[in-house]
């Protein structure tokens, strides 16, 4: 497999704190690779190193046959980037934002102008061409950032939490657009805190914690590999006592978080029947999902720096 982007044995320390620790991964053409991990896991630092904005202490980054950071500008000419915080120009309207950004890629004004209508349409912003970012909603701003990242028709997109802070409608529209880009053959590196986003978009996932890769694979495969297929959540007065009751034997694994008991099991039938004896408790039976995987791998504790 010829990879488009390859990171090998990447490490980065800030003082005594190792932020990225011997991280390796690659992105194949047309693939969407998701990077998930708690706050402070090293996701943003990894993206910054991929862009040559932070110098790694060790390791190599190869993109499109070029070396980062030596060929940073040549690599960035073929990348599209959406950062966590919008860096749109507040003094320009949507169309001008695209024009000015295209110029940074050395594109001719005429060539950019030709692309602007399609980019605005892609971002569902055609009617807002003359509006400034200050007049746009959060979702519109993010889509304008995405359109701006596409101005140079990049082969690979680096998206750092592109839907954080958006309402469900805006998030779904963003997902649709990203799926469209994948269908067009673009590759995407995506960091996210939303497990449904990761599951929906990513063909492969990288789970990071404390700068280390702790799991890698297709979302469904990871769930099958690390988790029992069924989860029964039980909550209500007296639920916590069940964790230590004979019912626990009916599950492969039991976890307690707050006031809720999680039973992980291969067959939930016996457990659900037994829970019928406790009509006061509320139960939720569902398939195991990425969120369970994430919490299993990275723990349920809130991080101090989160």
């Amino acid at each position: 497999m010829d990879s488009l982007f390859e990171v090998a044995h990447l490490s980065k320390r800030f003082g005594d704190n190792t932020v990225v620790d011997d991280l390796s991964f690659s992105i194949a053409p047309g693939e969407c690779l998701g990077v998930i991990g708690p706050n402070g896991a090293g996701k943003t630092t990894t993206i910054r190193m991929c862009l040559g904005l932070t110098t790694p202490d060790s390791g190599t980054i190869t993109a499109l046959g070029l070396q980062m950071p030596r060929d940073a500008l040549a690599i960035k000419a073929q990348l599209g980037v959406v950062t966590q915080l919008d860096t749109l120009d507040p003094d320009f309207n949507c169309a001008e934002n695209l024009l000015v950004y295209g110029r940074y890629f050395g594109m001719k004004d005429a060539a950019i102008q030709e692309r602007i209508p399609a980019l605005l349409e892609f971002a569902s912003l055609t009617s807002k061409a003359k509006a400034k970012p200050g007049e746009l909603s959060g979702g519109m701003k993010r889509r304008l950032s995405l359109a701006r990242a596409l101005v140079n028709d990049p082969r690979l997109l680096l998206l750092d939490e592109p839907t954080t802070g958006l309402d469900p409608q805006a998030r779904h529209l963003m997902w649709e657009r990203l799926q469209l880009l994948l269908q067009q053959g673009k590759s995407i590196l995506l960091t996210t805190h939303f497990m449904d986003e990761a599951e929906r978009l990513c063909s492969r996932l990288l789970v990071l914690d404390h700068g280390k890769k702790i799991a890698e694979g297709a979302p469904r495969d990871l769930i099958a590999q690390y988790l029992e297929p069924d989860v029964v959540e039980v909550f209500g007065v007296g639920a916590l006592a069940l964790a230590k009751s004979p019912l626990a034997a009916l599950a492969a694994r039991v976890e307690v978080s707050g006031e809720t008991v999680f039973f992980y099991t291969h067959t939930a039938t016996d457990l659900l029947n037994a829970l019928g004896q406790y009509p006061a408790l509320r139960t939720l039976h569902r398939p195991a999902n990425l969120e369970d995987l994430f919490l299993k791998l990275t723990g349920r504790q809130i991080r101090e720096d989160a």
Binding site: D89, V100, G106, N152
Partner: protein, 269 residues
């Protein structure tokens, strides 16, 4: 946070033509606000000129420069045009550049495109110098209309004033690179630019200063700018052009390099 491995921030500048779209960006924003910005930029210096030039001028009458009597308004005009170049460049390279760098994160957006940090700093430096040139051009126009000086040698004042803009925008970018907030710039304005304004022969001849203060004045870049521009207003050739020019150039080159080094450190590059 301390980076354990970064390139040496004091390495040689890597300047390319990629600075141009960044310069154009600033030009495009400014074009939208040119008229109000122009009013702001030239109204104040013109008020100084009119109030001091005509008001004080009536009291002072003639002033002697190099043994030659000169009307006070001409003396003041030739100095204050240099001061305007200094202030326009400083203001742009401090408040406006800081907004783009730190508040709006415009630079971060540009850095995700194939434009290096060195070229962004170069673009900001040249942009602030351009704004200074634009401001002094407008003021020169008014001075011509007021018939303060109509020497054809004024054409030569123009490139010199661009040089003054470059020198002071480079110096201001050093402080831009160190700033945590806008308040920091107050120190630069009150502790450096204001004394510079009074100690560079803008309002009165340097000969008036006590010898110790004169020593400081001789090292201020604005003194050298005034020494180059004032004779042109008097329809004469400046003396020691290479000496004065070298001082301005040295300030510009050293400041730009320091600004670049500090900005690279700030961005962890």
């Amino acid at each position: 946070m301390q980076n354990t491995s970064t390139q040496n921030p004091w390495r040689a500048p890597r300047l390319t033509l990629r600075f141009w779209p960044v310069f154009l960006r600033n030009l495009l924003v400014w074009r939208k606000l040119a008229i109000p910005s122009l009013v702001g930029n030239i109204a104040e210096p013109l008020m100084w000129l009119v109030a001091f030039g005509y008001g004080m001028g009536a009291l002072v009458g003639q002033i002697t420069v190099d043994g030659q009597p000169v009307p006070y308004i001409l003396f003041l005009a030739s100095g204050s045009i240099c001061m305007s170049a200094m202030q326009a460049a400083s203001f742009e390279a401090l408040y406006s550049a800081f907004s783009r760098m730190h508040v709006q994160k415009t630079w971060d957006g540009i850095l995700n495109a194939p434009v290096g940090l060195d070229d962004i700093v170069l673009a900001e430096m040249l942009w602030a110098a351009f704004k200074a040139l634009f401001t002094v051009t407008a003021i020169l126009g008014v001075m011509l209309v007021l018939q303060i000086s109509q020497s054809p040698k004024l054409l030569l004042a123009w490139p010199i004033l661009l040089g003054v803009g470059i020198t002071f925008s480079s110096m201001a970018l050093v402080f831009n690179a160190m700033a945590k907030g806008y308040d920091f710039f107050t120190y630069y304005f009150t502790l450096f630019l204001t004394p510079t304004m009074f100690l560079s022969g803008v309002f009165f001849p340097l000969e008036q200063l006590p010898p110790a203060v004169r020593l400081i004045a001789d090292w201020l870049p604005l003194s050298h700018a005034v020494a180059l521009v004032r004779p042109l207003f008097m329809d004469q050739w400046p003396v020691n052009v290479i000496g004065h020019g070298s001082v301005l150039l040295a300030y510009a080159v050293v400041s730009f390099w320091v600004a670049l080094g500090l900005t690279r450190k700030r961005f962890g590059q």
